[in-house]
């Protein structure tokens, strides 16, 4: 079991890595993100390269956001570092089943790994050092008319095709939108799959989830969910609220490097240059 202290170390390392990605995206820091982060951890007296590589896995495809969003190529060493991070503890194959059948956290990590691995191979197909991560199961679908806190609930035996169900579990918009927020690193241009399809069919749930998180002043969660709204806007979906104003709001009221990165990515998705 991971200790509280180790958890804090990973979280702090992920924050620092997010800051590097943000700086690279905004052109205010070096172009290297993951490589510079791991290098810094290896050379510092209190750094731990294993923790730094773990942070890469926490951020997932977000470490590649500066290159995906600007079209610049990752500098030499960047893809090797990502290969190292993915190779240190290869993604489980086959991935765990989706909730409620499988373990929530491991399934979420499997998707974040898929995002990193897929973004890496799309960005630099010739030099991708890691094998493609296996595609995990689709998330439960958001049921707008279900009780809002309904946990993932298996569909009736054989599915309920008469009501548009394809047999996947359904879930209330509160836990569903929070989980989509945890998968926000997938909300990048060029990534598309079952999670993105779930976002497309859960527009209202995402808008409600972002609204709820904002009103609860949980700005990290609000920014993550709002990023999906920005992705959907870029995807051409009609939204029940203005994602630009909400992005500005969570960016101005929220704090922390990961929230700042989510905000910057959302602004790019919405076609607004970073501040």
């Amino acid at each position: 079991m991971i200790s509280e202290r180790a958890r804090t170390a990973h979280s702090e390392s992920a924050d620092q890595l997010a800051r590097r990605a943000l700086d690279a995206l905004q052109g205010t820091g070096g172009a290297a993100v993951a490589a510079a982060h791991v290098e810094s951890a290896s050379s510092g007296s209190d750094g731990d390269p294993a923790v730094a590589l773990g942070a890469v896995r926490i951020l997932g495809a977000d470490v590649l956001a500066p290159y995906i969003l600007t079209g610049q190529s990752p500098p030499a060493g960047e893809t090797e570092t990502l290969g190292l991070a993915l190779g240190a503890l290869p993604p489980t194959d086959p991935p765990p089943a989706a909730p409620p059948d499988g373990p929530e956290q491991a399934w979420t990590m499997a998707w974040i790994d898929w995002g990193l691995s897929t973004a890496l191979s799309r960005l630099d197909p010739a030099r991708s050092p890691a094998p493609a991560a296996p595609l995990p199961q689709a998330p439960p679908r958001c049921d707008d008319s279900a009780p809002r806190h309904l946990p993932p609930t298996p569909a009736p035996e054989g599915g309920d095709r008469a009501h548009g169900s394809d047999g996947t579990a359904r879930e209330g918009w509160v836990p569903w939108s929070v989980r989509m927020g945890q998968l926000a690193s997938l909300a990048l241009p060029g990534l598309d799959g079952p999670v993105h399809d779930a976002a497309r069919s859960g527009v209202l749930g995402l808008a409600r989830g972002a609204t709820r998180a904002t009103l609860r002043r949980d700005f990290p969660t609000a920014a993550r969910i709002t990023r999906w709204l920005a992705w959907l806007d870029a995807d051409g979906q009609r939204l029940p609220l203005d994602p630009m104003l909400l992005t500005e709001h969570t960016g101005l009221l929220g704090g922390g490097d990961r929230t700042a990165l989510d905000t910057a990515v959302a602004r790019r998705l919405l076609g607004v240059e970073a501040v």
């Binding site: 809002r148 209202l204 709820r212 609860r216």
Partner: protein, 311 residues
């Protein structure tokens, strides 16, 4: 609404009514000098709110014999506190621009009471442009408009511009749902209450406002339930019963039932309830009225809404 929460809603309302009836003397105005009553709207506000809830029970058509008896006695008690309406009349004479006597009178009118001199004065007041531009907050102007409608005076030159009044409210602008606060939450609920005359006219909500509320009520109800703001949570549950397609969640009714005390009192929030009976009445009479209205209107809508096939 499925049968289980309909029963819960009924039980909540019934217990709240019992408590309001049993504790009604704590709301008596006998200790307040009559001059103060004529001068201060706050002094008799609670009597008006009790009268509103009682009038809605009588209007509902779903109350049992015992509940109808309690509601009738409660309304009679409130009418007596206002000296059979004379106090409203005196206040109108003394403060011609005050609209609260007319708003309060509407509750009694709904319950079958009449005071001809008050009504003549209201008819005169409603015809004045001045009444329609009193500098109330926007949702309060809808309260005045609805009072005139209930009393049957919302026509002719004095008729309210409902569309204009609606658009002047926060809700009427369908703003960013993530930028609401506690006090504005109450503005939203009251805009919906007055537009629909407390659920009697669900189509009184313009279609876009009904859609907007359907989208965001679940969020607002959730966050104020989490914050333990039972009074606002229950008001939002009333709004759900006022929609053309009523919105309700079983969990909300279970939560409201769980916070209600055994004697029927509903605390306004999650803070400890203390004080003697009079202090408790003073502090928690409002949320208990809200719970009575919520339970009553939910039951009305549960019974008048056609069942979905298979539900």
């Amino acid at each position: 609404m499925s049968p289980a929460p309909a029963r819960t809603a009924h039980d909540i309302g019934s217990r709240a009514l019992t408590w309001l009836h049993a504790n009604r003397e704590h709301g008596a105005l006998s200790d307040v000098p009559r001059a103060d009553l004529a001068d201060e709207a706050e002094a008799y506000k609670a009597v008006g709110e009790t009268a509103l809830a009682a009038s809605l029970v009588l209007r509902s058509g779903v109350a049992g014999t015992a509940e109808l008896g309690l509601a009738r006695e409660l309304l009679e008690f409130c009418w007596g506190q206002l000296d059979d309406g004379s106090l409203l009349y005196e206040r109108m004479l003394r403060h011609p621009l005050a609209t609260d006597p007319m708003e309060t009178y509407a509750h009694f009118f709904r319950g079958g009471y009449r005071h001809p001199k008050v009504e003549r004065l209201i008819a005169h007041t409603v015809a004045l442009r001045s009444t329609h531009v009193v500098e109330h907050i926007p949702n309060r102007r809808l309260a005045v408009a609805n009072a005139a409608r209930v009393v049957g005076l919302d026509h002719g030159p004095g008729a309210s511009d409902w569309a204009g009044l609606t658009r002047a409210t926060w809700l009427g602008a369908t703003p960013e749902p993530w930028h609401i606060d506690w006090l504005t939450g109450y503005s939203v609920t009251h805009t919906a209450f007055h537009l629909t005359d407390w659920g009697r006219l669900p189509d009184g909500l313009p279609t876009d406002l009904a859609h907007y509320l359907t989208r965001w009520l679940p969020v607002w109800t959730d966050i104020w339930a989490e914050a333990g703001q039972w009074d606002l949570m229950a008001e939002l549950m009333i709004v759900g019963t006022c929609l053309p397609e009523p919105w309700t969640e079983d969990d909300d009714w279970q939560r409201l039932a769980a916070v209600q005390h055994a004697d029927g009192m509903v605390p306004r929030d999650d803070q400890p309830v203390d004080g003697d009976a009079a202090q408790r009445f003073d502090a928690h009479q409002h949320p208990t009225i809200v719970a009575l209205i919520a339970g009553t209107l939910a039951l009305v809508r549960a019974l008048d809404t056609p069942k979905q096939p298979g539900s």
